[in-house]
Symmetry: D2
Subunit: 198 residues, 4 copies
């Protein structure tokens, strides 16, 4: 099954995976404070505005640290609203509603999630016909196609490496790259990990 | 089962019912352009800000007519955003998020729905842990307690009278009053109906 | 000159005054955590939805204490957004835009202000043709009519009593009642004061 | 004087100009339905997220045609909200507040404007300390620095060519490129024009 880009978020961590038929020549790299999806060196040029973006950001909030991740340019305003003090629910809802689904041939939804350091995790998506943001108590998946409403999904996000690898290896078609995020065992913030196509 | 206030919205109409343990002395009356929930003449005085509000409004939008209904003061900004031209999804999401759940002892959710004259219906709710707005293709119920996530629910909203009566008669406890709304058979807008406690 | 309801907000305090031709029989009273505008005992009944509301609220935020005040029901969501952690700019903008100007015969603007305990004050208004929210460094007035864009205005808000009395005594017509708010001299939060018609 | 990027919007048209000390190697080109700011062929590579964006878009709304322009990626959600039916005031306010000022070394404001085909024009900006959106009745300028509050400004936007050229030639320092937009004389939508560095 092809579900497009997807994420899984559980109480303590999560993962985001790029799956793509149209733009497979992409990879995730580490920038200051962010993991970034972008074209590989050998990718054909495109002016599609949806192929490069920060997919994971870890930010300081007034009350702790929060990781935000998702499938597009909305990850930045979500992270920035968290830094300003918005609760996760409101940072997700505001940013998803403002940027809305992608204006491509498929009305591709935007998806996003947050994990806070007090154990609160949220998932969100905006579709042409819906805006859904909710707290999750167990691992939850949402994808851009087919599985486009958040649903419980068995997943191991106990550490970032495992989360990224598990997401990359899931049976869904056209895996390109994946990122994992998890609260660090030492309890002081978040660790991240990347899996790029070999 | 006590589910508190609830609404059902289907493609062509819907109903809203007040169920209440704390403030049963209420009724729905007709005001210009709105159905209004308020205390009966013999109700004890209260300064609770959540007992009186417009529960149904029918408004002209730039592209037709839409009915909006719900369990509190958010029905007015939803109706007004529809008049300004906001799509139903956005009118619901913006108003629910801004007014948020009721700051009472139960963090009671706000619930709302819209029916457009082109056959589009939406349901929405805001809870302490979620903001959920989505298009519905079949009758869908959402309540303030227990059934606080929208779910499919068999319901006859073919005319306003039937919708109001059906909602009032549902087995959920502590019925106080109900309003129904349906696209008129003549196809020119909406009709409404009221059932108050006998 | 009749400027309708107005407020003045300076770096350390402010005041809100009800001026009214249509509903002069009103007073401000103290409720738990709020100052509330409402009809006097001898006021004629009205179903105008804009005459009774919390005009001042002092709330705990994640980083301190903030006072919010204004001319209508938007003061509650502004206060609640501040409690959730929204910065003042965003709490004002979100709530004013969602509730919008009053849908009366004059398209009366909503006005509001905040004073934080770190010395930050903001003013905001939403009109049919504008949404204006900005930090103020000196006493600033905004009214519902005539002076409906925030402007610098000499005013003494050094303590709550003085602020309320000064606002009540200003030459603008049809004074009904006024509330003052100021950071307490002890530096631990805010004090409030009320002046009602004699 | 260096005011950075700026725009002028009058009742019937307007212009946007890129002024830049850091990224002068840029030009405006025509894409389907948009004018786009991007690097010239000889520009050094950068991963600054704020140098390439659609600066002008003309969209169909439910009630006519509207031109939107501004200094960054917020022009897209503004245009898309207009297409959905949001009034200009709300499309500007929602998108500016969600994307907020640029998170660079200068907290550079986002600026934007709209011109509708019924003669309504709006200007907006979001700064670290303000969100300002208002209808304009006469040509009005707002810039990212120094002149960062909208102010009346004599300007000829009677046709797109003149508007673009006038903006480019204004005495403000470090002109890079400019775009103009005006209601077409035939009254059927908008014309646009571009001036790039020679």
């Amino acid at each position: 099954m092809y579900v497009g880009r997807f994420l899984v978020v559980g109480p303590d961590g999560g993962a985001y995976r790029v799956s793509s038929r149209s733009f497979p020549n992409r990879e995730i790299s580490v920038r200051e404070d962010a993991l970034t999806v972008g074209p590989t060196d050998d990718a054909p040029e495109t002016d599609n505005p949806y192929v490069a973006y920060n997919c994971v950001r870890v930010v300081e909030t007034p009350t702790g640290e929060t990781a935000a991740f998702g499938n597009g340019s909305h990850v930045d305003p979500i992270a920035e609203k968290l830094e300003l003090g918005y609760p996760a629910r409101d940072a997700l809802a505001t940013s998803l509603l403002a940027l809305d689904y992608e204006k491509d041939d498929y009305d591709t939804p935007r998806i996003a999630a947050t994990v806070g350091d007090a154990g609160e995790a949220f998932v969100g998506t905006v579709r042409e016909d819906a805006l859904l943001v909710e707290r999750v108590e167990e691992p939850t998946l949402v994808a851009t196609y087919e599985m486009d409403t958040p649903e419980a999904f068995e997943f191991d996000a106990s550490d970032a490496e495992t989360a990224a690898r598990s997401a990359y290896d899931l049976e869904f078609e056209h895996a390109v790259c994946a990122a994992g995020v998890a609260r660090s065992e030492a309890g002081d913030g978040f660790e991240t990990a990347i899996v790029n196509d070999d």
